[in-house]
C-alpha cells in the first residue's frame, strides 16, 4: 500500500504527526441502478492504493467468474460484499468504505440504487457532508436520480457532485454533458438545492478519467478532478457555530460525591463556568467541570469542548437531570413542545397507521408518539403534494404528531442532531420511519386532530373507565329514576364520566312526537338505545331509566349495545306498591281512563328473566339500592378502583 508520501520511508514519526492533523469527510454515492456507483468507489480505493495484492488477486479471480467488464477488472466486486449482491450484480445494503489521502480520511457510504432500497440510501445520507450523484451519460437524469437528489437535499447534505459517468461511451461529448447538467440544474432549483455547492464533472470510473488525474479526453473541462474536489471541499465546522446542545445519554454516579452528565455534544461549544439550562423544564446552573479523560497525561479535564466531542459535565448545583434531557447554554435554549409538524420518510413494508402509538427516539429520549393522517405526500418526480391517508414504504410525507410528553428540540433545518428522530413499532421493534421536526404546533393548530382515527377504546382509555349502559327497567313509580340518580352521583363523585337518560326527559325532546301506543313505545326504545350506543362510544357510563316494558325490545337493545356492555337492572316493585306511591299521580289518571295504554294497568309489563341485577325496593332505600349496584359493578370489574 504505497502511500504517496515518501515520509513513510524516511521519517515515519514526522509522517504520523502529520496524519494526526487529518480531517474527516463523510460522503455518499447515489444515483440510479447501473450508473456505476460501486465501480467508482472501487476505483477510488484502487487509485488511493488501498487495494492490497491479496485483494487484487481475489478481484481478478472474481472478475473472471462474475465480472461484467469482460477481461477488465470489475471494481464493483471490491465493494459488493454480500453473496446475494455479488450474484445479482447489484448493491442491496449500505456499505461503508474507508480510504485516506495525505490530508483527509474519507468514509464513504455506498448506497443502493434500486427504489426498494431507498431507505438504505437515506440512512447513508443522514451522516454525509457531501453527496456524489452518479448519472449514466448515455441515459441522463432518471426518476431515481431525482428521487435521490430530493432525499439527499431533504436530509440536509450541503455539497453535491453531479458525476456524469461513462463519458467514454459517448465519446466524451461536451454537448451531451451540458444538456444533462442543465436538465439537473432545472430540477435542483425546484427543490431548493443551493447551486453554489453543486459541482458537475465528466467522469469514467471504469477508465479512471478525471478521478485522480485530469483526463486528456475532456480538455473542455476546466474544473478539478473528483479526488481534488473531495480533498479540498470545505467542511466547515458548522456544527460548532450553532447554539450549544448536549443531549444527556447517561448519568455518571460512581459515588455520592460525583454526579456527571455524559453525552456527545450535538452542536456549539461550552466552557467551564458557562451558564446552562436543562430542557425540558428549564432548570439552570453553571458548568463546574468538563471531563474528558486523558490516561496518557493524567489530565482528565478540559477548559472547553465543542460539537462532536463525547464529554461528561458536572454542574455547580444539584439539579434534576436524567437521560434524554438536553443541556443548553442559558442564553440560547432549545425549544420545548409535545405537538409537531414533521416530515417523515416511511421505511417499513407495513404502512403507517394514523392513531396508533409508536415509539419515537429523538436524541437520547424515547417517547410515545401518535401520528395524524398525512397532510400530503410528495411525488418526488413532479414535486406535487398529493393527498394521502397513509404512508407506505419509501413515501415522504408531512404529518402532525403528538407526544405523551414534552421534549427539547430544534427544527431539523437548523440542527440535525436535535431535529431528527426515528419511529419504532412497539410490536415488531422495527425502525419504521425517519423523521425531521419542522416546528411545534400551537394550540390552535391542534384542532386538526379530527383527522385522527380515535376509536371507542381510545376515548375510554382517556377517561380511564369502561363504558357501559346500565339499563333500569320497571313499572312507572318503581323507583328507577331515583336509584339511577343516586348511582350517578356516586359515580360522579368517583370521577367517572356519566350520563343519565331519563324516559320522561327524553319524551320532552328527542321523542316528543311519540305517543304511548305499542309502535310508538318500540320506536321510543329504538331511539334511546341508539343514543345510549353513541354515548358508550363516547366513552361514557350511560344510565338509562326507562319503563321499557317489552322483553323483545330490551333484548334488541342488549344486542345493539353488545353483551358485556349492557347491564340490565330490574327494579322490581310490585304493582300495588308502585300504585300506592303514585308520585306523579299517573296511576290515578290511568285508572280513571284519562291515560290510555298505561303499563301495568291496560298495557302489559314483561319482567326480565335473567337481569344482571334485581333490586327489591321494598325494605331497601334508594341509597342502599345504588350501593348494591355499585358493589356489583366493582365486583364485575366494570368500575375499577
Amino acid at each position: 500500500m504505497a502511500h504517496q508520501s515518501d515520509l513513510i520511508k524516511t521519517d515515519i514519526e514526522n509522517y504520523l504527526q502529520q496524519q494526526e492533523q487529518k480531517s474527516i469527510l463523510r460522503f455518499i454515492t447515489c444515483g440510479s441502478v447501473d450508473d456505476g456507483k460501486s465501480t467508482l468507489i472501487g476505483r477510488l480505493l484502487y487509485e488511493s492504493k488501498l487495494v492490497f495484492e491479496d485483494q487484487l488477486a481475489d478481484l481478478e479471480k472474481d472478475s473472471k467468474k462474475l465480472g461484467t467488464q469482460g477481461a477488465m477488472l470489475d471494481f464493483a466486486l471490491l465493494v459488493d460484499g454480500l453473496a446475494a449482491e455479488r450474484e445479482q450484480g447489484i448493491t442491496i445494503d449500505v456499505a461503508y468504505r474507508f480510504f485516506s489521502t495525505t490530508t483527509r480520511k474519507f468514509i464513504v457510504a455506498d448506497t443502493p440504487g434500486h427504489e426498494q432500497y431507498t431507505r438504505n440510501m437515506a440512512t447513508g445520507a443522514s451522516t454525509a457532508d457531501l453527496a456524489i450523484l452518479m448519472v449514466d451519460a448515455r441515459q441522463g437524469i432518471f426518476t431515481q436520480t431525482r428521487r435521490h437528489a430530493y432525499i439527499v437535499n431533504l436530509l440536509g447534505v450541503k455539497h453535491f457532485v453531479l458525476a456524469i459517468n461513462k463519458m467514454d461511451l459517448i465519446d466524451y461529448n461536451q454537448t451531451r454533458f451540458n444538456e444533462i447538467v442543465d436538465d439537473f440544474k432545472a430540477f435542483a432549483m425546484k427543490i431548493g438545492l443551493n447551486a453554489d455547492y453543486l459541482k458537475a464533472m465528466p467522469l469514467s470510473a471504469l477508465n479512471g478519467d478525471n478521478i485522480v488525474e485530469k483526463s486528456l479526453q475532456t480538455e473542455w473541462y476546466q474544473g478539478p478532478t473528483l479526488m481534488e474536489h473531495l480533498e479540498n471541499v470545505p467542511v466547515y465546522e458548522e456544527a460548532a457555530q450553532k447554539p450549544f446542545r448536549l443531549p444527556v445519554q447517561w448519568v455518571n454516579r460512581p459515588n455520592l460525591n460525583f454526579r456527571g452528565f455524559s453525552g456527545q455534544i450535538a452542536s456549539g461549544y461550552i466552557q467551564k463556568g458557562d451558564s446552562i439550562s436543562v430542557h425540558p423544564n428549564g432548570q439552570t446552573s453553571k458548568v463546574r467541570e468538563i471531563i474528558f479523560p486523558d490516561f496518557k497525561t493524567g489530565n482528565h479535564h478540559l477548559e472547553k469542548a465543542q460539537a462532536g466531542q463525547s464529554v461528561t459535565l458536572t454542574l455547580e448545583d444539584e439539579i434534576d437531570v436524567s437521560r434524554g434531557a438536553v443541556i443548553c447554554k442559558k442564553d440560547s435554549p432549545a425549544q420545548e413542545a409535545d405537538q409537531f409538524r414533521a416530515t417523515i420518510l416511511w421505511m417499513d413494508e407495513s404502512k403507517m397507521l394514523p392513531g396508533r402509538t409508536y415509539l419515537m427516539k429523538c436524541g437520547a429520549k424515547t417517547v410515545q408518539a401518535i401520528l395524524a393522517s398525512p397532510r400530503y405526500v410528495v411525488d418526488v418526480n413532479s414535486l406535487e403534494k398529493i393527498a394521502a391517508e397513509t404512508l407506505s414504504l419509501n413515501a415522504i410525507g408531512s404529518c402532525n404528531l403528538s407526544l405523551d410528553q414534552k421534549i427539547a428540540f430544534d427544527p431539523y433545518d437548523e440542527n440535525r442532531p436535535t431535529g431528527s428522530f426515528i419511529l419504532i413499532d412497539r410490536l415488531t421493534n422495527r425502525t419504521i420511519a425517519m423523521g425531521f421536526l419542522k416546528f411545534a404546533l400551537r394550540r390552535a393548530a391542534n384542532i386538526q386532530w379530527q383527522a385522527l382515527d380515535i376509536r371507542e377504546d381510545s376515548r375510554a382509555k382517556q377517561k380511564q373507565q369502561k363504558p357501559v349502559v346500565i339499563w333500569f327497567t320497571g313499572l312507572s313509580g318503581s323507583g328507577k329514576s331515583t336509584i339511577a340518580n343516586a348511582l350517578e352521583k356516586k359515580l360522579f363523585g368517583m370521577d367517572r364520566h356519566t350520563m343519565l337518560l331519563d324516559g320522561d326527559n327524553v319524551r320532552h325532546g328527542l321523542c316528543r312526537d311519540l305517543g304511548f301506543k305499542q309502535a310508538d313505545r318500540v320506536e321510543n326504545i329504538r331511539r334511546v338505545s341508539e343514543v345510549a350506543k353513541l354515548m358508550v362510544e363516547a366513552g361514557l357510563i350511560t344510565l338509562v331509566s326507562f319503563i321499557s316494558p317489552f322483553r323483545n325490545e330490551r333484548q334488541m337493545v342488549r344486542k345493539l349495545i353488545g353483551d358485556g356492555k349492557f347491564i340490565e337492572v330490574f327494579v322490581d316493585t310490585p304493582l300495588d306498591i308502585a300504585e300506592k306511591r303514585d308520585v306523579k299521580g299517573l296511576y290515578k289518571k290511568a285508572r280513571s281512563g284519562e291515560i290510555k295504554n298505561f303499563t301495568g294497568i291496560d298495557s302489559p309489563y314483561e319482567a326480565p328473566h335473567n337481569p344482571e341485577i334485581k333490586i327489591n325496593t321494598v325494605g331497601q332505600s334508594p341509597e342502599e339500592a345504588a350501593n348494591n349496584i355499585l358493589t356489583f359493578l366493582i365486583e364485575q370489574k366494570i368500575i375499577e378502583i
Binding site: F52, R97, Q241, W250, S262, I291, K296, K304
Partner: protein
C-alpha cells in the same frame, strides 16, 4: 477569555472516531440490561477497552470482560489478558467449551474450520446463553472484510444467534434502535468506522498497552503451507521435514497460534509497525486461514453466530 467559534480548532479524524465510539458505549449501557465486552486480547480489543474506560470515567466500565478461550491462544496473550484485567479493575469471564476440550478438539487434529466452529463460535454462543448477556461489544471493523462493511453498528441476533443480513435495521444519524424481543441479543461494534491505520495511530497517540507479539522478536517458527507458524507449546506436531528456526518475526493479527501466520520483521516500535503496515502489500486478514475457505465465507460464519 470568551471563546469565539472561529478560534475553535477542527476536530481531527481520530477525535471524531473516538467520540463516536464513546457515544455507542454509553447508548448500550443506557438501553440494555446485561452487556458484556468480548475481549479477544488483540489490538482492536485494546483500543475498545481504552475507549470504554474513557466513556465511563470516573466510573469503571459497567460491564464485565469476556474472553472465549479456545485453549490454543498464544501463551503471551493469556498472561497479557490476566494482567490487563487486574489493572482496569473489571471482572473477567474466561469461557472454554468444555465439551470441545473433552472431545479433544484442536486445530491440528480437526482442521481449522471445525476447531473455529466448536471452540470459538459454539463456545461464544454457550457463554452468551449461560450468562444471559443481551448485548456484546465486539472489536470488528468495517474495513476488515466485505461482509463486515455491510454490517450495522448494532447488529441483531435471533434467539439462535443467527444474523440476517437482508433484514438489518436502518441506522440513520446516530439514532440506534436497541429494542429487541425476549431471547434476542445485539452485537455492538463501536470500532465499525475505524481502519487498521486508525487503530495503530490511536494506540501510538494514546500509548495503549498491547500484546508484545505485535513487536518483532526472535521466536521459534516453522514454515508450513506458506505460512510461518510459531511453535508456542509442545502440542504442535512437527513433520519430519520441518525445522524449528529462530526468526525475527511479529504478528499483524492474533488468534489461535496454529492458525496465525507470523511475518518476518524487524519492527520493534510502534512507528516501525505502522511504517511496515503502510508499506505492506497484503491485507491484515491474509495471515488468517478462516477467511480463505470460500468466497463470502465471513458472511456465512457470521450468519451462524461467529462474531
Amino acid at each position: 477569555m470568551p471563546l469565539s467559534p472561529s478560534t475553535l480548532p477542527a476536530l481531527t479524524h481520530l477525535s471524531h472516531l473516538e467520540s463516536e465510539s464513546i457515544h455507542i458505549f454509553r447508548e448500550v449501557v443506557s438501553e440494555v440490561e446485561n452487556p458484556v465486552m468480548l475481549y479477544s486480547i488483540g489490538k482492536d480489543s485494546a483500543v475498545m477497552l481504552h475507549l470504554a474506560q474513557k466513556a465511563f470515567y470516573p466510573s469503571p466500565p459497567p460491564f464485565p470482560l469476556m474472553h472465549i478461550d479456545t485453549t490454543w491462544k498464544f501463551q503471551e496473550m493469556v498472561s497479557f489478558r490476566d494482567k490487563i484485567a487486574k489493572e482496569v479493575g473489571m471482572d473477567l469471564i474466561v469461557h472454554i467449551n468444555q465439551e470441545g476440550v473433552e472431545k479433544g478438539i484442536g486445530p491440528f487434529t480437526h482442521g481449522s474450520s471445525l476447531h473455529t466452529d466448536i471452540m470459538k463460535t459454539q463456545a461464544l454462543i454457550q457463554a452468551l446463553d449461560k450468562y444471559q448477556f443481551d448485548a456484546a461489544f465486539g472489536g470488528a471493523r468495517r474495513d476488515e472484510e466485505k461482509a463486515r462493511a455491510k454490517e450495522r453498528i448494532f447488529s441483531f441476533r435471533s434467539k439462535r444467534h443467527r444474523w440476517d443480513p437482508k433484514n438489518q435495521r436502518p441506522e440513520p444519524w446516530s439514532l440506534y434502535n436497541t429494542r429487541k424481543m425476549p431471547g434476542e441479543s445485539i452485537r455492538v461494534f463501536p470500532l465499525s468506522n475505524w481502519t487498521e491505520l486508525d487503530i495503530w495511530q490511536y494506540i501510538y497517540l494514546e500509548n495503549i498497552p498491547i500484546v508484545p507479539l505485535y513487536f518483532a522478536k526472535k521466536r521459534p517458527v516453522v514454515e508450513r503451507d506458506g505460512m510461518l507458524i510459531m511453535v508456542d507449546d509442545e502440542r504442535m506436531p512437527l513433520y519430519r521435514t520441518e525445522n524449528v528456526q529462530e526468526k525475527m518475526v511479529r504478528f499483524r493479527t492474533l488468534g489461535c497460534y496454529p492458525l496465525t501466520g507470523a511475518i518476518e520483521s524487524s519492527a520493534t516500535t510502534l512507528p516501525d509497525i505502522i511504517q511496515e503496515m503502510l508499506l505492506a502489500t497484503q491485507s491484515e486478514r491474509q495471515g488468517r486461514t478462516i477467511d480463505h475457505d470460500q468466497a463470502a465465507s465471513m458472511e456465512k460464519k457470521k450468519q451462524e453466530g461467529y462474531f
